[in-house]
Amino acid sequence: MSNLILEVNDVAISFGGVRAVNGATLNVHVDSVTSVIGPNGAGKTTLFNLISGAIKPDSGTILFQGLEIQNLLPHKIADRGIIRTFQGAKVIKRLSVLENLMLGGQDNPGDSLINFFNPKARQAYENASRDRAMELLQQIGIERFAHEYAGILSGGQRKLLDLARALMANPTMLLLDEPFAGVNPTLVEKLLEVLEDLRTKHHLTFLLIEHDLETVMNISDRVIVMAEGKVIADGEPNSIYENQAVIDAYLGTRKASS
């Protein structure tokens, strides 16, 4: 039995004439924290979009828990257990913080119109969902904003909300797009606490895009380096530091512009 939860095989996609992802291959192991790093424009977010289903690859396959997902729509992929967060933490500003979280609830009977005629079932779920959401809010420390419009949260608080909302969706694998960017150090501590807690208690797999190399090296089991749409290195954090290709990729851009 493979302990690979995600397999990306030679995936490619072009926009206009630009090959944003040009034959990327990588694997993610169950219960691991894997980080994807690389210079800007390397194709990291495009890769995430391909995995989450927002765009379809021109070629290549993506397997999650052994099954092909590259042709599935985003909501189906989320259904299977891959939940993502977004660069810049998209919160729904016109909903309250609490409502944002409750949006993440899975198999909510109230989502189905037939259950309009079954208020008991709807109410029961909503109550349970609300309790869970409040717990999460307490855990991340923003429960005092529960009933405020999410639009009033600061950038760092929005990241926390984004993460908590992803958790409400019972993920098997979390795709975190720059979860620490622009967050002040105290909140980063908080985030790391929550992530570690999740890892140990809930057997979650993490795939992150991150620019802060120090954090990446500290928390990752594996690091994948992308440049120009390809995976140029893949291994344990220490080995990446020494990898010539990686150094070239990161310094290469500086060389070109000097």
Binding site: H75, D79, F86, I92, L103, N108, G110, D111, F116, R122
Partner: protein
Amino acid sequence: MSAIMQPGFWIFILTMSGIYGIFGLGLQVQYGVGGILNFGHVGMMALSSYTMAILVISHGINFWIAAAAGVAVAALGGAFLGLTTLRLRGDYFSIVSIAFSEIVRYVIFNSDNITGGTQGSLAIPPIGDNYPSYTDAWDSILRHVQDFLQPIFGDIVDREFVMAIFIWATLGILLLIISRVERTSWARVLRATREDDEVPAALGKNVFRFRLQAVVIGSIIGGIAGIYWALESSLLSPEDFLTVVTFYGWMILILSGATKVKGLPLAAIFFGFLYGGTRFFTFFPFSLVDSAQRAYIRIMIIGVVLIILMMKRPQGIFGKRQEMVLE
């Protein structure tokens, strides 16, 4: 000026307000909850009213079944529109939705042998020798209620009065149901989708399905408005279902503040005055033009109101500016 003194004038305003209020509610579900800009809503009215009329007149079907069938056809129309175009970007959907209602009207206009074409529903080929009016069954209900209420409330209770009661009762029931629906998590998903459709999708919600459901529900309500329109006006013509009617609904929606239902009745009445007033007012400056031209002026006024409304007070009478700014 004497027109205003007649109770018939006020009942007319109330009736029109009620019908367009129901019509506007159909739009509210789509836009206020789902953020969907459907500009083909009048097509649903046309579908339900003509289906009902054709079934009663050409096929002798019982009015109540025909009316239900009419609303069902409106729902199917909404489903068809949604299935073919809801995955497209918003402005494409809006443009195609107008085409949808225009094509419905076109087909009605050009199918003389089924719909009566330009001559209207009076030219629908009847099933037997007599021309059955589709309002017969409805009229007898109205008469029963009228007979019941007249001894209590006096001569003011005529057919029109009872009609207005039924329309507003329907509107009231629909408002209650829809306001409940808007408190469910189904509505919450749509409200989120309205702002950003990537987030709900990333959380496992089938955004397309939710939007399609909103359009179908809105179309059912639009279909109900169509049946009442047919009953009120006793005869149908393609001219009754021009695209401008969709914008009557939008005006009511904007006036009501769009995102909540509670402002709808008043907004509908306000619109009713605008609509009915231009028909009945005979004083200056309306005395300058004849009745045909008055129709032009009415549409011009609607245009001007739409412009001023969106430029100066897009939140309408009841909406919050804060919510509009989030658009």
